[in-house]
């Protein structure tokens, strides 16, 4: 299919958001172009996000930056892409499911790169060739991805000046090469004039305050530091590594430290050791690492040492799909410890919320002297978003420590709250031995049923009695049906609930931030008047659905909508499902 050369300009469709997929082989620069596009959009007063997706290869595989821009904060992807721009088509067909197009969509490819693959052409989208490589070749020192940035930016309604401005801000090479790439961007902007059919964003609001440009991994890292974390030990793993790479220099600046461990068994035990020493500590990993850490997390339960484990979930089981998202570690996080082991499990509900939820996890772990697992995922962790500066959250919990020479000190004293003062090494007169063996109140190993029952009750009680306040869930909307979800899926569900409301069907959204311990009273209050629930999640085993059924009384005939990763659940399909469910 070739571009229609008709001079007839189609009336531009106005849209609340536009979606752009920049694709190509790994190393073609699509992630750089996507990041600059998002950056430029932020400068232009837009909100948006960029989701990264790539094949398993480090170089030379397929890669795509999935960008959605809008006038309002946007946390998830849309149903379809308005624009697919491929710098080359090498293996880009593998994204056929991840980059759905409509007949109204636009495809832009390199004019020397052959035709667009059938999997995309089948949508009926219009194809426009642009000479990316030839143009870049003609401007010595310039790159094809900058021509692509010019095209995509112009089609998003962003001016050449803003596009070149963001390149200048991040440029680290010679001034000559910068000028060459300015020319490449402008060439792309010029080429975009011949491309028809892109929707336009309506007039944008001027930002009231400076917005943030942040990834979920960075937000989680910053939230951890805000919560007081000053020691991190971790082993590299996709897709958590960027969180650690962000934290290493950040911790050093605030007087903390990050240590690269030899494996995840070491990571978890290192942070337990550091936290035992009084320093709030964290590790970040993905499913395979969490699996290795389970024994250590059990030690943190038994020895009552606060630690935070951020699991940036990816496809599982086993090594699974390392660079793509899935919400399939929930069952491991809520159930996966030996013995009866109460633990905290939390999940951020958006990229921005990675900050507040991780901060809360640190404060809860510290206050309750227990391990907290934070279930982020690749979608949130590796995506970058333009957000309003998150509100400061007052500190919600601190560790209770023992005073020097406290009278009759017992580390694991059976207090009413279940929380007992923790002696920090260096404090005289209260030394004790922390133990993963069951123990007496004084911490001496014991295999007697009485001590076991006392300590089991204490560890359960301290988590059960805590007042988690309003943060336990985001509850929005009205209706006698409730859609319950968690994590990155929340964005699509929120959008679907809004669309259902526009179609005249009101339902409630409950996005759980605190997954464990279960909150039966709060849950019952939230479901007051609700007669039906639909549980939405991104995994194959309906893990949230099964967990909720085991922990809560759900009204009516609970429904489950679950699909494994890496395909995100999309707002349109969810809205359709909600309408079908409510209209019976």
């Amino acid at each position: 299919m070739h571009a229609r050369t008709s001079s007839r300009r189609q009336a531009q469709r106005a849209a609340a958001s536009i979606s752009i997929a920049l694709a190509g082989s790994g190393g073609s620069g699509v992630m750089t172009a996507g990041t600059l596009l998002l950056n430029a959009a932020a400068k232009a007063g837009l909100y948006g996000l960029m989701v990264r997706t790539s094949g398993p290869q480090i170089r030379g595989g397929e890669a795509a930056a999935l960008v959605r821009l809008g006038e309002a904060p946007t946390h998830g992807l849309d149903d379809r892409f308005d624009l697919l721009l491929a710098i080359d088509w090498q293996n880009v067909h593998r994204f056929a499911d991840e980059i759905p197009l409509a007949a109204t969509s636009v495809i832009v490819g390199d004019s020397d790169g052959g035709d667009a693959p059938d999997v995309f052409r089948g949508s009926g989208a219009r194809y426009f060739p642009v000479p990316f490589k030839k143009t870049a070749k003609g401007i010595a020192g310039s790159w094809a991805n900058m021509v692509a940035l010019g095209v995509a930016g112009a089609l998003a309604g962003i001016s050449a000046d803003v596009l070149t401005g963001v390149l200048r801000d991040t440029w680290k090479r010679s001034a000559d090469a910068l000028e060459a790439n300015f020319a490449a961007i402008r060439a792309g902007v010029a080429a975009a004039a011949a491309i028809e059919g892109m929707p336009s964003l309506a007039a944008r609001r001027k930002a009231a305050s400076r917005r943030w440009f942040i990834s979920g991994n960075e937000a989680a890292g910053y939230g951890a530091i805000r919560g007081g974390v000053r020691f991190v030990a971790a082993y590299p793993i996709t897709p958590a590594t960027e969180m650690l790479e962000w934290m290493a220099p950040a911790l050093a600046r605030v007087g903390g430290t990050l240590l690269q461990a030899e494996d995840e068994l070491a990571s978890i035990n290192m942070i337990i050791g550091a936290s035992y020493g009084g320093v709030p500590s964290l590790t970040a990993t993905a499913g395979p690492g969490l699996a290795l850490m389970i024994e250590g997390i059990g030690l943190a339960v038994g020895a009552e040492v606060p630690v935070v484990v951020v699991d940036v979930m990816r496809g599982g089981p086993s090594t699974g799909i390392p660079a793509k998202s899935e919400q399939s570690d929930l069952a491991l996080a809520v159930n996966g410890l030996s013995g009866d082991a109460p633990r905290l499990v939390l999940a951020p509900t958006s990229i921005a919320d990675c900050l507040a939820t991780t901060q809360w996890a640190v404060e809860l772990a510290e206050a309750l002297q227990a391990p907290a697992i934070v279930l982020s995922d690749q979608f949130m962790g590796q995506s970058r978003a333009i957000i309003d500066r998150p509100a400061d959250v007052a500190c919600l919990g601190k560790r209770l420590t023992a005073a020097a020479s406290a009278a009759d000190y017992k580390r694991y004293r059976d207090t009413e709250s279940g929380i007992s003062p923790m002696a920090i090494p260096g404090t005289p007169g209260v030394a004790y031995t922390a133990d993963g063996l069951e123990h007496t109140e004084a911490g001496i190993p014991s295999s007697q049923s009485r001590d076991h029952a006392t300590q089991l009750d204490k560890r359960l009680r301290k988590l059960a009695r805590h007042d988690y306040g309003r943060f336990w869930a985001d509850i929005e909307g009205d209706g006698d049906g409730a859609v319950i979800t968690f994590g990155s899926t929340t964005a699509a569900v929120r959008e679907a609930v809004a669309r259902a409301a526009d179609a005249g069907v009101g339902v409630q959204l409950i996005a759980l931030r605190l997954l464990a311990p279960a909150q039966p009273e709060r849950f019952a209050a939230a479901l007051d008047g609700v007669t039906q629930v639909l549980v939405v999640e991104q995994n194959h085993g309906a893990q949230l659905y099964r967990y909720l059924r085991s922990m809560y009384d759900l009204p009516g005939k609970p429904q489950s909508l679950h699909r494994p990763g890496p395909l995100p659940l999309r707002p349109g399909e969810l809205a359709d499902a909600i309408l079908a469910w409510r209209r019976g």
Binding site: F213, T257, G298, T433
Partner: protein, 278 residues
């Protein structure tokens, strides 16, 4: 490490708790416990500034038998817990104690990396060439032909050589001690605590219950004929060729201990926000 200033000199007794060890009568570990408390008295670091970290096994019960802070974690991970603790709290004196199964088998990877990393820890392994707590299975240091229920006729697998592995992996101090000589062991442990970086002390500590043959060790142990060297190649040759009962400090190196990327805060938490701002 803080030296006690104003108080009366600490004695070994100040480091002994009242808890009765679970060990069998005649176990070498009683003597090692006594050596540890004597060594701490030699160093004069107050008990509250010392943490004894261990994993799982008979010898790993040692923390609660001292008046120091203790951390009795999971099997094989003592060095990891101690590393996190010492890096986060460099002001503390951290001893790590355990057995041959805990340190060389399930914890083997941490042993290699603790040696490499050279964090200022003192690692005391009470080696009896057997899993005692689980009632007599072969450990990495067990002789290949040692008969047991789990490995009838022996494992057929050559024994692990912890000292040469420690040296090759970068431990800054390598010594062998014998529980039958508590004063000598105390002196070695004190030297290990004072030596910067990762100090490894392998203590031959007989298991009288499952390895009664180890009573012979008393006859076999002998002082190393030459003093410690700081040349790893020389130390390696000696350790590789000795009879396994050469007692003393065999290597005392000069590697710089692990330096954590830490220090005084140069920025406030709020300062970190600047990079996110558009």
């Amino acid at each position: 490490m803080k030296e006690a200033a104003a108080r009366a000199p600490l004695t070994a007794q100040n480091y002994k708790s009242g808890y009765k060890p679970i060990w069998c009568p005649g176990c070498g570990d009683y003597s090692v416990l006594s050596s540890v408390t004597k060594a701490l008295a030699m160093v004069q670091v107050p008990p509250e500034d010392v943490v004894v970290v261990s994993g799982i096994g008979c010898s790993s019960r040692i923390p609660a038998y001292t008046t120091c802070y203790g951390f009795h974690g999971v099997h094989g991970r003592a060095l990891a817990a101690a590393t996190g603790l010492k890096v986060a709290r460099p002001d503390l004196t951290v001893l790590v104690a355990g057995g041959d199964g805990d340190g060389y088998s399930i914890g083997g990877n941490h042993f290699l990396h603790a040696c490499r990393r050279n964090v200022d820890l003192t690692y005391i392994v009470m080696d009896n060439h057997v899993y005692g707590m689980t009632k007599g299975q072969p450990s990495p240091t067990t002789e290949p032909d040692w008969d047991s229920k789990l490995s009838p006729g022996g494992t057929g697998v050559r024994s692990f050589h912890p000292l040469v592995i420690a040296l090759a992996s970068g431990a800054n101090f390598v010594a062998r001690a014998f529980s039958g000589d508590p004063n000598g062991t105390a002196a070695i442990i004190a030297q290990a605590i004072r030596h910067p970086g990762f100090s490894f002390v392998e203590v031959l500590s007989p298991c009288v219950t499952f390895r009664p043959d180890q009573r012979e060790w008393k006859e076999m142990a002998h002082p190393a004929p030459v003093t410690a060297t700081d040349d790893p190649a020389r130390a390696a040759r000696r350790i590789m060729t000795d009879d396994g009962f050469n007692i003393g400090v065999l290597y005392a190196g000069k590697r710089k201990p692990y330096a954590a990327v830490t220090g005084k805060p140069r920025a406030t938490v709020a300062d970190l926000e600047a990079e996110f701002e558009q």
